[in-house]
Subunit: 273 residues, 3 copies
Amino acid sequence: MFEQIFDRVRQKSPLVHNITNYVTVNDCANMLLACGGSPIMADEVEDAVEITEICSSLVINIGTLNRQTIPAMFAAGKRANELGHPVVLDPVGAGASRLRTDTARKLLDEVRFAVIRGNVSEIKTLALGSGTTKGVDADAADRVAEENLDEAVLSAKEFAGRTGAVIVMTGAVDIVADRERAFRIRNGCSMMSSITGTGCQLSALVAAFAAASPEHPLEAAAAAVCAMGLCGEIAYRRLSALDGNSSYRNYIIDAMYHLTPEELEKGADYEVR
Amino acid sequence: MFEQIFDRVRQKSPLVHNITNYVTVNDCANMLLACGGSPIMADEVEDAVEITEICSSLVINIGTLNRQTIPAMFAAGKRANELGHPVVLDPVGAGASRLRTDTARKLLDEVRFAVIRGNVSEIKTLALGSGTTKGVDADAADRVAEENLDEAVLSAKEFAGRTGAVIVMTGAVDIVADRERAFRIRNGCSMMSSITGTGCQLSALVAAFAAASPEHPLEAAAAAVCAMGLCGEIAYRRLSALDGNSSYRNYIIDAMYHLTPEELEKGADYEVR
Amino acid sequence: MFEQIFDRVRQKSPLVHNITNYVTVNDCANMLLACGGSPIMADEVEDAVEITEICSSLVINIGTLNRQTIPAMFAAGKRANELGHPVVLDPVGAGASRLRTDTARKLLDEVRFAVIRGNVSEIKTLALGSGTTKGVDADAADRVAEENLDEAVLSAKEFAGRTGAVIVMTGAVDIVADRERAFRIRNGCSMMSSITGTGCQLSALVAAFAAASPEHPLEAAAAAVCAMGLCGEIAYRRLSALDGNSSYRNYIIDAMYHLTPEELEKGADYEVR
């Protein structure tokens, strides 16, 4: 199944609109190109709406939120909704400040998201009104491990049910859930957290995959999560003794550039519950 | 001739002011350093004008256009005109939205550009009022290939005549034209389009080359286009089986760092008509 | 001593808030992760204050200064002062434009900095009201070499005395001084100046080191400067014939990722006067 989904990304080459932060934007653009998609960025409100119209999906990433771009997020999100384009929310740092938490919540109220992707702390903040976000990384207290995995899956399904969105909760084990089913994904390497923006890149990937298979957002999101994790594994095996997080960043994008739909199908490590 | 032009870049180390997008700005800065120039970025209106005064040339790139920086583009462009500094326009996404198209057109009205560099769709949008820009990449319908090359050259010369600018239209074949002469350049690799920002980097390069040879904007722009394409070829030959678009990005900048004026003279693949 | 200081960075993993420019921000984030810290960026005024509260230190970098983020710099700086967090100023381009010079001076008036890190031209501009900043790079006339080193050290100590900050003046020889003592540091490679943002990355590093050892800002800053220079040396030895400034950028961050506190202790090349 993931083979077909990834194949469609390569064939359709979806144009993905990113209203995102300036820290990791270049990596997101190169990751989108690597997977076979095409990136565009616009954050001035009127420009963002028009650009949304020529795209196939939209990512709203609140990583360096500012008053000038917030209206573009709402306007582009609503226009994408009207056009039936999948919209992905990356609530970077939700729980770490009021502006981020409130903006993410308001976006959830006014925009219909196909997928919400965050770390456990960010998702907990939005789902439960709690969560102890430590900056842009998940707090240790919020870690999803084997012992609390069932509980995390239930909570993701519940949040999916309430929002109508597929929930992607990334951590040591990744959870991708709609109200009924959940993928538990074990692809990836812990070293990925030593690179800035692997989460942002994943959100962009999810948008490309969802754009190419809009009728299957759960599977599309799960395929993107597996693809990203698998590339993290492939890139990790490529590391020489001198390579650190900066080369690793390049190698992960390189791995996506070469990943085939067959390799994704074979390498995807998940179970569905 | 290109040897002397590139040599002058290395000797003069021109300081290039970039009012540009936040997606590819870091690559533009490293590319400028690689060619022997020096980058500086300022986009607050008063700062942009003063920084323009200490620079040798200016790039205006509308990749992530917003209301705050548009006034800086006009003010810095006009100041550069007063000082006789070459100004390069990169109309990223012109044709894809009204804000981009209108701003690019208004810039053409109010600022005298030494060089305008875009893909075929962007240049067609500005030259003819048509063009089917697909986001920030040229639309397939606008592709310049052998069969419509003569027509594209004519249209570039005509647009050059009307604007007084050297027109750089990049694609499978690159065209660099003033009203009378046109370079048809065949350096480069198709894989360059799988990296974000090779166009933006080229615009920055053109500004460095034009700054070092302000009396020869046509030859300076052609030399920069050949240099960029040649580095794309050198970097392509360096790719290992595991290297993808992210490593390729690094290798192209690396290649520019090592490129000598003699190698550029020898490797430049063009004809003049 | 540097061993313990670096060890503390790795153990405490300080969260560092960066109000910084969009040119080099991604490299700063990856460098912070490489040293063992954790980056976060926020520049909307209310967000910046709250994010400062969950961090251990703050960098204010004026590289792409604009009217929207200046209030965030002052508000976050003052809040960090109230909380006793070390604040680092990187006055990029001070001396090159009035907005930069004036903003840097006003920041010095209203915020108490633990460390001020700039090139010689930038520091001279702030310390003496003179300096001939050539864009964002030090002017040749301001070069610190063996013959004027004593004078530069004296002036750094004097400026440290007046501001209460540790002064980090980087160049061929780096000077790190408080009012009484000065480290003269000879780590580093001249090729580091062919990469955009090594200065910005160093400022971020200094903030991480100062956050982990807030009671020893002089030694923390000196350790960070030695670590950055040492990584420049390690990365330089790794360069192949084809590697240029872009690969060098990656290798320096990679080197920081692998650098051990023991290696820093052994490789640090400095004298204290």
